[in-house]
Symmetry: C2
Subunit: 202 residues, 2 copies
């Protein structure tokens, strides 16, 4: 949209919304005009929530998850298992695992994956900090829970080599059919992994 048709402050918000991932100019103007029609309160609250997001959050100095208090609630929770460490790519992965309610150990957030294409090397991730935690901690098992993607797999492989000197068991999340998934609609790679990882019925 050209700048002279719309008022400057309207165009400005459309431009800001368009900078967000997955939001094109059409969606951005739909959102902006929605806010124009909505109660003043709603845009005030959105503005405030965006403003406070950064100022009231930081990274936990121990696990590097996003938190309002340092160390984060998960790290300072005494009820959690100190011998289990789950290494993930992003803070949202912690949320996903927590929602599954089957894991009660500690976390470590790498903040990315090794990706030569995007110029991300091991030093750009929280890997040195991970090694330090394993050196100083009582971990028995480290779950390398990076994504089931090419980059996630290579990062896990890299971590496996780096952590070899420490006496910890290293594991990856199982690959297989998603629960509720149809065999017919499962891609052949996943199906192959499900076949290889088949489990005996007892």
């Amino acid at each position: 949209m050209t700048n002279d048709i719309l008022p400057r402050s309207v165009q400005r918000l459309i431009d800001e919304f368009s900078r967000l991932p997955g939001i094109g100019p059409k969606t951005a103007s739909r959102l902006t005009f929605f806010l124009l029609r909505a109660a003043n309160e709603q845009s005030a609250e959105l503005s405030e929530a965006v403003r406070l997001l950064k100022s009231s959050t930081r990274l936990c100095s121990n696990c590097f998850n996003i938190t309002e208090i340092d160390p984060c609630p998960t790290c300072s929770d005494d009820a959690r298992d100190d011998t289990l460490l789950c290494v993930v790519e992003e803070p949202l992965d912690v949320v996903a695992i927590e929602r599954s309610r089957v894991y009660l150990g500690r976390y470590h957030v790498l903040h990315g994956v090794i990706s030569p294409v995007e110029g991300v090397g091991p030093d750009d991730l929280k890997i040195a900090e991970l090694i330090q935690r394993i050196e100083n901690g009582d971990f028995i098992e480290v779950i390398l829970a990076t994504n089931a993607t090419l980059e996630g797999d290579s990062t896990a492989l890299y971590l496996q080599r780096r952590l070899m000197p420490y006496e910890v068991k290293m594991t990856r999340l199982a690959r297989g059919l998603p629960v509720g998934g149809d065999l017919e609609y499962t891609d052949e790679v996943t199906l192959g992994r499900a076949m290889e990882g088949r489990q005996e019925l007892i």
Copy 2:
């Protein structure tokens, strides 16, 4: 997402984004975590743009389009034709028509359509103000450019009846094949209207 997994300020922004149309909880958390990783500057600018949106815009007291100055630039533009009035549902419709660059008359924004289902009657729209403008103005033609929907059509019909006493020509936008459109993929109603409205080649 449950509140105890995520920091409060993160959850708060996810909730605010989720209140926007077409943004579900998944998209809302993707946007929030994107902002967490982006430069501080970007969230500061977004917050400010949202905050200023309402405070620096108002409705033009003449045409009811959204504007920063009253009367709006379109109403105060002397080069525009004072005998032509285009009535639209929303401010975004003005943007769409302006982009087509074929119309150089005045506008009137109704801010909605008559919709008994949603409890919107004629008094909820800027219809009294439209009639006043037509009474006081020099309009020769009024283009009822509401959407080509059931509600848009009935609102146009209602306006046509209300404006009958005034000596103005009333028109609707043409229906037909979209430019670049395939006959094969055009729905039968549009094709029927295109057939009825066929034009002689000269």
